[in-house]
């Protein structure tokens, strides 16, 4: 591995802490949200199972990912996974769309045993669920890992993060090769699964402008190989490199205007590109000024569900965003002065 990788590796590891004790028989979370299935808005059941977590986060991990906080380092037994499953079935019952997340890769057999996954899939199929979304690192996208006996239509979400190797190495700390990514996307689609790509907006160290350009370029690069693209604005999760940089004010969460800019520039792509910002409108998530956060998030939601577009949005803070984007590369990091988004209206120190 080239030497230049080493600093970020150390930084990622130093930022992490051992996850707290969690009850093993309870899932991390479950909820119901709106999603689009075959052009119609439906209710989707969302479940996060508690597992051992992502193998990469145990080894090193990505600079923005704090999902290891929800994992159990020793692993969760099959019995406990079944206990968790019992508790989430009510959320899934009657839905046509299910999203089954773990804080890692659902089709990593060392994280979620294949037998358990197979049971769960046929259970969902029997419940009448038509489509199920799971997540995985590219290295586990191998047909034998998702050759279920009876399963709803599979949609595999694979985190590309960026198609730029420099960003992956020096900002995200993810070992992913573009050629491999293209190969597994083809493999998944050839084996009857749909592929959803995750692209990061503003990973650490990148400035607002670099972030926008990187996300747009990544979307253009990946569009031919996937069925939909989700733009994920980086949010500040606990015990991550991103959190450290954020505390030090060397990086701030992206603007919602940047999210909208990326989506607008991806409008002509042949696949659906949308965004559902985690923690949107808060200081830890993508946000603008206090006046327009809610409005813009609402517009993004409507855009995601296909019931609205991103036209005609305006706020006083847009010109500030414009000024910042123009100079952001010269600032040499992803920061901006405290209180800038609200025009230094509050009496925040600076």
């Amino acid at each position: 591995m080239p030497e230049a990788f080493v600093p970020l590796t150390d930084f990622v590891n130093e930022s992490k802490s051992i996850p707290r004790d969690h009850p093993l028989d309870k899932p991390v979370a479950k909820w119901v949200e709106e999603e689009v299935l075959d052009g119609k808005i439906v209710e989707a059941g969302v479940v996060i199972l508690r597992t051992r977590g992502c193998y990469w986060s145990i080894k090193e991990g990505c600079s923005m990912c704090g999902y290891f906080n929800d994992t159990v380092p020793g692993g969760v037994s099959d019995d406990m996974l079944r206990e968790q499953w019992k508790k989430v079935r009510s959320t899934l019952r009657g839905k046509k769309y299910a999203k089954i997340y773990t804080s890692g890769s659902f089709i990593d057999p060392t994280e979620v045993p294949f037998n358990f996954a197979d049971e769960v899939m046929s259970d969902m199929s029997n419940m009448g669920i038509e489509k199920v979304l799971i997540e995985s690192l590219p290295e586990f996208v191998n047909p034998k890992n998702f050759a279920y006996t009876n399963a709803p239509k599979l949609e595999i979400a694979i985190g590309l993060e960026s198609s730029n190797p420099v960003v992956l190495d020096k900002s995200v700390n993810k070992r992913l090769r573009w050629s491999h990514y293209v190969k597994v996307c083809k493999l998944a689609r050839d084996n009857g699964a749909e592929v959803k790509a995750y692209i990061l907006l503003k990973p650490p160290y990148l400035s607002e402008k670099e972030a926008i350009e990187d996300a747009v370029q990544s979307a253009i690069d990946t569009a031919p190989y996937v069925d939909k693209i989700s733009i994920n604005p980086v949010n500040v999760q606990k015990n991550t490199v991103v959190e450290k940089l954020w505390f030090r004010n060397e990086w701030t969460a992206p603007w919602l205007w940047s999210v909208i800019e990326v989506l607008k520039r991806c409008e002509d792509l042949p696949v659906r590109v949308y965004s559902d910002p985690t923690g949107g409108g808060t200081r830890r998530g993508a946000h603008n000024c206090h006046d327009c956060n809610k409005r813009l998030l609402e517009a993004l939601k409507n855009h995601r569900l296909g019931s609205g577009d991103l036209k005609g949005l305006h706020c006083n803070c847009k010109s500030r965003w414009n000024t910042l984007v123009k100079q952001s590369k010269l600032r040499r990091n992803g920061s901006e002065p405290h209180g800038y988004r609200s025009g230094f209206a509050g009496s925040r120190h600076f």
Partner: protein, 524 residues
């Protein structure tokens, strides 16, 4: 590039005609962004230079802290690095960047520019000013005020104000008043005052010793020159043992012995038998205690303070620790306090140490009545003190001063043939004589030879006939270490050819091609 002037770790460099540092670059004309993530764009400071790439994937709290290109070193995140860490990093600026690279701190607030310049940053930009301007704020002497009149092009208005602000910083360096500007900006800016607080030690250790007047206030208790003076007082010994400590007030005129009040004290005391056994120490803020022999030493003769007659708790604490450094129990038989408003405090402090002390209890020490009382008390106190003759006293004075000034390298002066007496006529043979310019013993050429043998700093210059000052271009190498303002010895062809005062730090002399390196006092 030619160093014109220094203060703290800051430097005023002449780059071209009409182009000096600290300098501000304007983002729209002078900065070009990089084409990709792995290059750094360019910066125009007279000429166009490449910038190093931005620090992707690096932890800003780990060395190396600076990003380097051929001509530029960048201090990224200068705006947000923790104050203590920033000072730690500042200590490494020149070891990482060298002297010939310009140090650029991107995107800092104008209010932080003076302290960063004080710590050695050469180049700033207008990025934060642009952001502020876009939200309708006006820059005014480094502070932001909300716009209440319509200004058409606020950004260009603020840019010219920023230019004036930088000009003020440059001016402050050339007038030796950068510290004052930093103190002003620190008053209501916790970040700047924290950086300033943490940088005290670094500035003593590496900062230029510029002999500019310290117009003092409470903040100045942390001035590097003052802390340095206070620390070195523990090296100091009074001229003889078993003298009587006489504590007098300080005076507005410096050195004190030139003031009318101190002249009157002297004229009163000289009538007392054995008055040479009185050792005059002046009490003052922010320096604490200044023995008579050290009145020439910087900054004892170079400060000014608003006289309030009130002593703050921190000042009293400082006086206590300075008194302990003077070690009165070891050196003095008795003490007299004749210090006006500070008499009560000083009497208590001396009593705490268990020394026999008399307070003259005079409100106006230099009044006729006050002087009479002083004379009587001095006469009584000195009655049972052994006689001290002029020669021994002069010897002791020279020893105390030499130790204070040259520390462990002072043996050659202490052992020389000492003649004359304080203040102006004191000499150490033909090695050194009192010099108000140097602020203590100024070395003669012969003294320089001795000093260099004792481990004093030596600059080895190219072989040419040295006339006037030594310029950086003529410096070949060096031995030892010094700060700007220290006395150094110049050697050519292994022979000492001059002594003078350093105007650059060691490595800087080597890496600069222009500018005065040593202000020569004596030639061979």
């Amino acid at each position: 590039m030619e160093p014109i002037s220094h203060e703290g770790l800051g430097r005023l460099l002449k780059l071209e005609d009409n182009l000096q540092t600290p300098h501000v670059v304007f983002s729209h004309t002078d900065l070009k962004e990089s084409k990709d993530l792995e290059s750094g764009g360019t910066i125009k400071v007279g000429k166009v230079f490449d910038l190093p790439p931005s620090p992707l994937g690096l932890d800003s709290e780990k060395a190396p802290y600076l990003q380097l290109s051929e001509n530029i070193a960048v201090l990224d995140n200068a705006y947000s690095i923790q104050p203590k860490k920033l000072v730690e990093i500042a200590a490494e600026f020149r070891s990482e960047a060298g002297y010939s690279r310009l140090l650029y701190a991107p995107a800092v607030e104008p209010s932080q520019m003076p302290i960063l310049a004080y710590l050695g940053v050469d180049i700033f930009d207008d990025l934060n000013v642009e952001l502020r301007s876009s939200t309708g704020w006006i820059l005014e002497s480094g502070e932001w005020i909300k716009q209440n009149t319509q200004i058409d092009d606020l950004f260009s208005h603020n840019r010219s104000e920023l230019n004036r602000w930088i000009l003020r910083i440059r001016n402050a360096i050339s007038n030796g008043k950068l510290r004052e500007l930093v103190e002003i900006t620190s008053l209501h800016n916790p970040r700047v005052s924290q950086i300033l607080h943490h940088s005290a030690l670094l500035l003593i250790e590496k900062g230029a010793r510029v002999h500019s007047t310290i117009r003092s206030n409470d903040l100045s208790l942390n001035h590097p020159a003052i802390l340095d003076f206070q620390n070195r007082l523990s090296n100091y010994e009074p001229p003889a043992q078993n003298m009587v400590l006489l504590i007098l007030p300080c005076s507005a005129r410096k050195p004190y012995f030139k003031s009318s009040s101190h002249k009157r004290f002297f004229n009163t005391l000289r009538e007392v038998e054995n008055h040479l056994a009185l050792h005059v120490v002046s009490v003052t803020s922010p320096l604490g205690l200044v023995p008579r022999e050290l009145e020439f030493c910087y900054p004892a003769a170079h400060y000014d303070i608003a006289v309030t007659g009130k002593w703050s708790a921190s000042e009293i604490e400082m006086l206590r620790s300075q008194l302990i450094k003077l070690n009165p129990t070891k050196h003095y038989a008795k003490a007299i306090v004749h210090a006006g408003s500070s008499s009560k405090i000083m009497t208590e402090l001396v009593k705490e140490l268990g020394i026999d002390v008399v307070d003259t209890r005079v409100d106006r020490p230099s009044s006729y009545e006050g002087l009479e009382i002083l004379q009587n008390i001095a006469r009584m106190t000195l009655s049972d003190i052994p006689i001290l003759n002029t020669k021994d006293r002069a010897k002791g004075e020279a020893k105390g001063l030499a130790n204070f000034q040259y520390g462990e390298n002072s043996d050659f002066l202490v052992n020389s043939e000492i003649s004359g007496r304080m203040p102006y006529k004191l000499r150490c043979g033909d090695l050194a004589a009192m010099s108000p310019v140097v602020g203590g013993f100024g070395l003669t050429l012969k003294g320089g030879i001795e000093y260099s043998l004792q481990g004093g700093p030596i600059i080895i210059a190219e072989n040419f006939k040295l006339v006037g000052d030594l310029f950086a271009v003529g410096v070949k190498s060096y031995k030892g270490n010094w700060n700007i303002g220290d006395q150094v010895v110049i050697k050519q062809n292994d022979i000492v050819t001059a002594v003078g005062i350093a105007k650059m730090v060691p490595e800087e002399m080597i890496s600069m091609n222009r500018g005065v390196a040593v202000e020569v006092r004596h030639h061979a």
